[in-house]
């Protein structure tokens, strides 16, 4: 690992330092927004938003190379596509309750298909893998500034609306009765998910971003008692996964995105196996409370 730390200081491999900075910054947004994603159970929607990002990246690269729109950075395309996807998926899940999962799956595939077609028509060679699974070699100054700005935006919106999002996730019906515009805040939350996914598009890629959105928060949820604690622990875990994965990938010359995602996945599995075994160990005869409740219900049902 010492090589990794030395390499971080090496002026010739600047991309490594940039990746670390982006990873640490993005971890804050991933921990915070990921916690909402996990407690509100919208991982599938978040996954669909992430995949739709490819449509924007494809369109941006095509515009840059085929149309000469140099200003249209792939991250801007990613952002636009993510926000459009978030809005469409939000409308679908608000208004088409019954077949929500089907619509999510369809949009997921449509987004990918548009992206791949754009990339196929883009002059020169573009490797879709770079965007699907991350490629830290394309990270430069510009990417750092975009990530920093988005990160601040996401954290600011959450800070200003922490309680509202909490209410939305915990009991949307009650929140609506207390005057909260549930639809608006739900769409806003999905937009935050969209912005967050884009933060790590170069480090872990859009396909693997969902791992860092859900896994740290899912582990954190086991350890804490409050939503804000969950956010902090999830952000720290996300940092650990990013730094650890980056170090391992550098040391053994492995692709960074998959290494980070797999590391997170292994920790997740271990934590859940331990938790499941503990639960099984604790399971004894039913407690008195439960037994009394059942007896009460039984006599009333008679």
């Amino acid at each position: 690992m010492t090589e990794f730390w030395q390499a971080l200081g090496d002026p010739d491999i600047r991309f490594l330092r940039y990746t670390l900075i982006i990873g640490l910054m993005a971890s804050l947004a991933f921990g915070v927004v990921g916690s909402y994603v996990v407690v509100h159970r919208i991982t599938a929607i978040a996954g669909a938003i992430a995949h739709c990002v490819l449509a924007g990246i494809g369109a941006a690269l095509y515009s840059q190379r085929a149309l000469g729109w140099e200003w249209f950075h792939p991250m801007f395309g990613a952002l636009a596509a993510a926000l459009v996807a978030a809005y469409l998926l939000g409308l679908v899940s608000l208004h088409a309750k019954e077949r929500e999962d089907t619509a999510i799956g369809a949009l997921w595939a449509i987004g990918m298909a548009i992206g791949l077609l754009f990339l196929a028509r883009t002059p020169g060679y573009v490797d879709p893998m770079s965007y699907l699974f991350g490629n830290i070699l394309i990270i430069g100054d510009r990417e750092i500034w975009i990530v920093a700005a988005l990160d601040v935006l996401v954290l600011g919106v959450v800070f200003a609306n922490y309680r509202r999002f909490q209410a939305l996730c915990f009991d949307p019906e009650f929140a609506r009765l207390r005057g909260l515009s549930v639809e608006r805040y739900y769409l806003l939350l999905l937009c935050l998910v969209a912005l967050t996914v884009v933060l790590l598009v170069h480090v872990v890629g859009i396909v693997l971003a969902i791992a860092l959105l859900s896994i740290p928060a899912a582990i954190a949820g086991r350890l804490v008692r409050h939503l804000w604690q969950m956010m902090i622990v999830a952000a720290l875990l996300c940092m650990v996964f990013v730094v650890g994965g980056l170090g391992v990938s550098y040391r053994w010359d492995l692709p960074t995105g998959p290494t980070i995602a797999l590391g997170a996945g292994i920790v997740y599995t271990v934590v859940f196996v331990i938790a499941a075994r503990r639960r099984a160990g604790r399971r004894g005869p039913p407690t008195q409370d439960v037994a009394a409740g059942e007896a009460g219900a039984g006599s009333r049902g008679a």
Binding site: V39, R41, F159, A160, N161, Y162, R163, R164, Q166, A167, C169, F170, D171, E173, F174, A175, R176, L177, R178, G179, L180, G221, V224, R225, H226, L227, Q229, M230, D289, A292, G293, A295, G296, A297, S299, R300, G301, A302
Partner: protein, 251 residues
């Protein structure tokens, strides 16, 4: 006269698709009334509640809550949903749940001002000692009381409770009843329940909902009648399909 009624419903009809769920419903709940809504599953109890809360719009007829359309009156109505609808893994403290009661009054920075009132609401239901506890670790009855505190924190003039005694044991039930008894001096209480034994000492009329609605004063139902009908130890009312306006009998 509507201005004085807590809830006034006039010739209300409602259907989700084509088959009417509620037909020609007319009822009135006064400001200090305590009423219980009973009826079979699928009879329209929850639908009636949602209409009163303005979550549904009637096909025909009119609902007025505190003299206003339901959506405008929401801020003055406290709603207590069933406690088992919640995600058991959600990391949220008792105090956080109660603070939801005034979600419309601003962000975390202004929250300090609201805390004393939240504490007061928790004290009222006997849960002030548990404010740092995690909501999902509470028992069913404790959760129910926290949800009542959340509704009280909004300083309602009407309290709507949906099946507060579902899945809680008898000791919890009587504790809950004491809590509600203390409240009914201050506000109208509407209780959805299929458990008339629990409510008969608390409410002064019973609203039977089974597509149509019939209102009985409790004097008709409680006491001798309830014992005759079910025996004193049976707490559940059998409201099956005889519950219609035309021939509303309890036999």
């Amino acid at each position: 006269m509507d201005a004085q009624a807590a809830i006034a419903i006039d010739d209300l009809w409602f259907s989700y698709d084509r088959a009417p769920v509620l037909e020609a419903v007319t009822l009135r709940v006064d400001p200090r009334d305590s009423v219980c809504v009973v009826g079979p599953n699928g009879g329209g109890k929850t639908t009636l509640l949602k209409l009163i809360l303005g979550l549904l719009e009637p096909d025909r007829g009119r609902v007025r809550v505190l003299g206003e359309p339901p959506i405008r009156a929401r801020g003055r109505v406290g709603y207590v949903p069933q406690h088992m609808h919640f995600d058991p893994l959600f990391p949220i403290s008792v105090l956080d749940v109660v603070l939801m009661g005034r979600i419309e009054q601003g962000g975390i920075l202004r929250e300090r001002r609201l805390r004393p009132a939240a504490m007061e609401a928790l004290e009222e239901v006997g849960m002030a000692g548990r404010l740092r506890s995690v909501f999902s670790e509470l028992s069913g009855g404790e959760r129910q009381r926290v949800l009542i505190a959340r509704a009280l924190f909004g300083e309602p003039e009407i309290l709507l409770l949906d099946e507060p005694t579902a899945m809680v044991d008898l000791a919890v039930e009587s504790r809950l009843m004491r809590t509600l008894k203390g409240l009914h001096e201050r506000m109208a209480i509407v209780l959805v329940s299929h458990d008339l034994g629990f409510v008969s000492k608390l409410v002064n009329s019973v609203i039977c909902v089974n597509r149509r609605v019939a209102v009985h004063p409790t004097s008709e139902i409680s006491g001798r009648m309830i014992e005759e009908m079910y025996g004193s130890d049976v707490a559940m009312v059998r409201h099956d399909h005889r519950c219609a306006v035309e021939e509303h009998r309890h036999d």
